[in-house]
């Protein structure tokens, strides 16, 4: 059953998707996009999870976590000039029970509308200390 519109989802952002000025549109473009559900794991738990499984320091450090509401994401897809009905499908993984996927293809044009709608969370102090 798809993730309901009231839930929020997050993605990890490492230096390959953030240069200190711009977020990469490819962060929310393409198909079978991996996301994670805040209804299953709190943001605090995601920091630890992403730090251990997504980041590969020293080059690929965790820079931030971006968040968006599923309903908001679906609105953006629906109102895009080439509308697309976006869904978020739960796909728990052994390393992340909150893992989910957006199976539909998100075009670059749509990603360009999604980026400004993302909330950005910076790493907590303990993570900054852990990664130097």
């Amino acid at each position: 059953m798809p993730v309901p519109p009231h839930e929020n989802i997050v993605r990890a952002v490492c230096p390959d998707k953030w240069d200190g000025q711009r977020l990469s549109p490819s962060l929310f473009a393409g198909e079978h996009l991996s996301v994670s559900r805040l209804a299953v794991l709190l943001l605090e738990a995601h920091w630890d999870l992403f730090h251990r499984h997504v980041a590969r320091p020293p080059e690929r450090r965790l820079e931030m976590v971006v968040e968006i509401n599923v309903g908001r994401l679906q609105d953006l897809g629906r109102t895009h000039p080439q509308p697309v009905k976006l869904t978020v499908e739960p796909k728990p993984e052994p390393w992340n029970p909150a893992h989910a996927e957006i199976p539909q293809r998100i075009s670059r044009g749509l990603a360009n509308r999604i980026l400004p709608a993302l909330s950005r969370h910076l790493p907590p102090p303990w993570l900054k200390q852990a990664t130097g």
């Binding site: 230096p15 390959d16 240069d19 711009r22 990469s24 549109p25 490819s26 670059r108 360009n112």
Partner: protein, 152 residues
């Protein structure tokens, strides 16, 4: 139909191959850039930030990324430099990113702040041009044409 649509679309006419004569002179190919020229080009077009990021992705990113354990395939790199040789970024230097499928992504804005995006992959170049809302895909061999069309 504008220039971008022409690049991504089907040709306006087609010549039957049987009517074509073999070329008397070998196909012209520009000389490849050497390492020094490439470094100079990167700094001039992308600025220090872009150059640093390119170097990180090209030489220091963890093995296992992209195809065959390389962060960037040689074909992707070649197409990227063909584009960069011709492209002009007058309003803001582009940002450089690495995509999950091992492509190199360039993003910048035009004078009105509208987004222009490219992704160089082993098979071609995906582009998005917000001023005309166009999206498409062209072969790597057309990198220079695309650069002329998208220069700001």
């Amino acid at each position: 139909m504008n220039a971008l649509a022409c690049l991504a679309g089907t040709p306006a006419y087609h010549t039957d191959p049987s009517l074509l004569e073999p070329a008397e002179t070998p196909e012209f190919r520009p000389a490849p850039l050497d390492e020094f020229d490439r470094e100079e080009l990167l700094l001039r077009k992308l600025g220090p930030r872009g150059w640093t990021r390119w170097t990180l992705f090209r030489h220091h990113y963890p093995a296992g990324w992209g195809k065959g354990g390389q962060a960037l395939s040689p074909r992707t790199v070649e197409g990227f430099f063909q584009f960069l040789k011709v492209a002009q970024f007058r309003h803001s230097p582009p940002s450089v990113f690495l995509t999950d499928r091992g492509g190199i992504e360039l993003c910048w804005e035009d004078r009105e702040g509208r987004s222009i995006q490219l992704e160089f992959t082993e098979t071609g170049i995906e582009f998005y041009h917000e001023p005309t809302s166009e999206e498409g895909f062209v072969e790597l061999a057309r990198a220079e044409e695309l650069a002329r069309s998208l220069s700001t």
